[in-house]
């Protein structure tokens, strides 16, 4: 019967799938879940490059526990469900001692919560939402959270003498966090946020949102945007004449600078996480030699450092035993680990205590850091 044949084929397929065993290797493996498809795929690519370079560096310096380090990278598809699928695979099949991941807060939080339930060490290499702090006991961040970065931005904006600003941010976990935290710090420091407009990403025009912020008549516009959206916003602001006499300030400016043509971003300034710390120069030159271009985003460096941190923790623990690794991470967090983004120290909640931020201004196509 046809149906029976189908059912048989179906069963065979399942059997086959279940039967595929993981490749056993002599290496020490850790896991990483990053977005290699979906909206954040470019950042994911940058993260995977950072990981690759870190593995090279660790192995050139003797590896981990006398063996070679290997990172199994899994795609999160930019979705919480797929991210958790990937983490479950890494934990229960590959039996990795540490999982690094993800990029956007909406995925990092559920991913981290699952790992915490399993008592697994989780290292967040990118998500800056304040909610990351509450993920749980075995979750750590090698990147500073929103409250730290927006405070820096608020101070920077005030230092320029702009007291009344309009805020434009994307309507997702990241944008909502930035808008809320920025307002909090800016108001506390004596500034005024005249209006906050949240925009949906992926639109073909942002004129409505731009005219909305224009109506508030601020001293300056503060915004945050991903690559091509940032480019469109800047272009339309230019076309609407909103750049004439009014300064624009970009929070995490490296996200959008590369995609924006020079004519639409004259005089743009902003801030970003310093993707280069004291030991960052060698990382930058290695990256450029290996991939023939400059950084795709600010987050490759953090993924790089997450791997360095994990490798250092494993070496310190002397084994891949969970309890020993967790203890080693706590100790390392106090002692500090040197990475491409500077020295990484963790506070009592396992979050990075301080990190370098840089002020940037646009000169032609390029971003230049200034003091």
């Amino acid at each position: 019967m046809k149906t029976t044949a189908f059912a048989a084929a179906f069963a065979a397929l399942f059997g086959g799938l279940v039967g595929i065993a993981p490749a056993m290797a002599e290496d020490i493996t850790i896991g990483a879940v990053i977005p290699l498809s979906g909206a954040s795929a470019t950042t994911g690519k940058d993260q995977s490059r950072g990981i690759e370079l870190a593995v090279k560096q660790v192995n050139a310096n003797g590896g981990v526990l006398g063996k070679q380090l290997k990172v199994i990278v899994e795609d999160s598809g930019g979705k919480p469900q797929t991210a958790i699928d990937a983490a479950k695979k890494l934990v229960s099949v590959d039996k990795v001692p540490i999982v690094i991941g993800e990029y956007s807060s909406g995925n990092t939080i559920p991913l981290g919560q699952y790992l915490v339930q399993e008592g697994m060490p989780h290292i967040n290499p990118a998500s800056t939402s304040g909610l990351v702090r509450d993920i749980g006991a075995t979750s750590y961040s090698v990147v500073g959270l929103d409250n730290v970065s927006t405070e820096f931005a608020a101070q920077d904006v005030l230092d320029h003498g702009w007291k009344k600003v309009a805020v434009l941010a994307m309507n997702n976990a990241f944008g909502q966090g930035v808008a809320e935290e920025f307002k909090k710090h800016f108001t506390a420091k004596g500034g005024e946020v005249a209006t906050t407009v949240m925009y949906t990403i992926g639109q073909s025009t942002y004129r409505r949102e731009l005219q909305q912020v224009e109506a508030a008549e601020p001293d300056a516009y503060v915004f945050t945007a991903y690559g091509t959206e940032g480019a469109l916003i800047m272009q339309e602001a230019f076309e609407l004449g909103m750049q004439e006499g009014k300064p624009w300030y970009s929070i995490l400016i490296t996200m959008m600078n590369k995609d924006t043509p020079a004519e639409f971003k004259k005089g743009l300034i902003g801030m970003d996480v310093g993707y280069i710390g004291e030991d960052g120069d060698s990382y930058k030159s290695e990256y450029e030699t290996a991939y023939g271009e400059t950084f795709l985003s600010a987050y490759g460096g953090y993924a790089h450092d997450a791997v360095l941190f994990a490798a250092a923790a494993l070496n310190k623990a002397g084994s891949t035993d969970k309890a020993a690794v967790l203890k080693a991470i706590e100790d390392l967090g106090k002692e500090g680990v040197k990475g491409a983004t500077g020295e990484i120290k963790l506070d009592a909640d396992g979050q990075r205590t301080h990190q370098p931020y840089l002020k940037f201004k646009v000169e032609g196509e390029k971003l230049v850091a200034y003091e």
Binding site: T3, F6, F10, L13, F14, L17, V18, I20, A21, P22, A23, L36, S37, A41, S48, I72, V73, E74, D75, G77, K79, P80, Q81, T82, I84, D85, A86, K88, K89, V91, S92, V93, S105, G106, N107, I109, P110, Q113, Y114, Q117, S129, L131, D134, N171, N172, A173, F174, G175, Q176, G177, M198, T200
Partner: protein, 296 residues
């Protein structure tokens, strides 16, 4: 490996329940619903609401089902005025409106950051909690399947199929099409919300990213590949798709392929699989059995 298998099977069971819900609408009644995920979302946010308000977690279930029932009735009401293709577009846009509203209602829903920290079902049974959950989900799937089978084989089921095939004839024979649509939407909305409730207490996180329209189309692809208007078929479709997607990374590891392969392969499985079935086997793996209603 075993834990991972349990996990994938658990999710597949929940997708199976969703596929059965869509099958009642699209398969048997001809209601082309592109907004299924919003009904599912009522269930997940019902669970989140109970957690946020500090209620007993079980109260999230009636809350979710009540919201889904209202939404289902609204969908059905729209169906009185619109022909089926326009109705499909309307459901798609309503689901999107709901997702965007949820993203913006930060005070109530946590906005884009979602609501996390829901209690995990059977967390106390560690290390057997995964097996316990799978057993529950499988039981739920079996019950829903049994219910759907009985429903479509009943006299009401025949009227559903008549409405799908010949709405004018059905009306001329005195069937109340609005009532049929209403009942089908109510029942299938409750089923979808139930799946959402279980899903929320499995993932322990609820967010608007779970309600994007590609999720609806994933369920559609399960239904079409498995066999539309065949309850056994759509469950097979759900398991096949979920396992194929979840096991792609192992193919990558076994063949030592780059991780980019996984992303591409998943897209090909959903899009290519759907296209291939529509072209060469439009009735799916298990085609509908015509006249198979207990000899009625």
């Amino acid at each position: 490996m075993f834990d991972f298998f349990i996990h994938v099977a658990s999710i597949a069971c929940l997708y199976g329940v969703l596929a059965l819900s869509l099958n009642l609408q699209a398969g048997f009644t001809g209601l082309v619903n592109f907004g299924l995920i919003a009904l599912f979302g009522c269930g997940t946010y019902g669970a989140a609401l109970a957690s946020g308000m500090g209620w007993h977690p079980l109260l999230g279930l009636p809350a979710g089902i009540a919201m889904a029932a209202l939404l289902g009735l609204f969908y059905a009401r729209l169906g009185r005025k619109l022909s089926s293709d326009y109705w499909g577009i309307a459901t798609l846009s309503i689901a999107e409106i709901i997702r965007i509203s949820v993203t913006n209602e930060q005070a109530l829903t946590g906005g884009a950051q979602g609501i996390s920290g829901l209690p995990l079902l059977f967390a106390g049974l560690k290390p057997y909690d995964g097996v316990a959950r799978l057993a529950l989900y499988a039981a739920v799937l079996a019950l829903v399947w049994l219910f759907c089978q009985r429903l479509v084989k009943s006299a009401f089921g025949l009227s559903m199929k008549l409405m799908r095939e010949e709405p004018q004839l059905a009306r001329s024979l005195g069937y109340d099409l609005d009532r049929i649509r209403r009942v089908v939407m109510l029942v299938s909305a409750a089923i979808a919300a139930f799946a959402g409730f279980l899903y929320a207490h499995y993932l322990t996180f609820v967010g608007p990213d779970q309600l994007v329209s590609p999720e609806t189309f994933l369920i559609w692809s399960m239904v079409i590949i498995g066999g539309i208007a065949n309850n056994r078929g759509v469950i097979a479709g759900a398991f096949l798709m979920q396992f194929a997607m979840a096991y792609v990374p192992f193919v990558k590891d076994a063949l030592d392929l780059p991780t980019d392969f996984v992303a591409a392969a998943r897209l090909i499985i959903v899009g290519g699989g759907l296209l291939a079935f529509l072209l060469w086997r439009p009735k799916g793996l298990f085609p509908e059995k015509v006249g198979g209603s207990n000899g009625r």
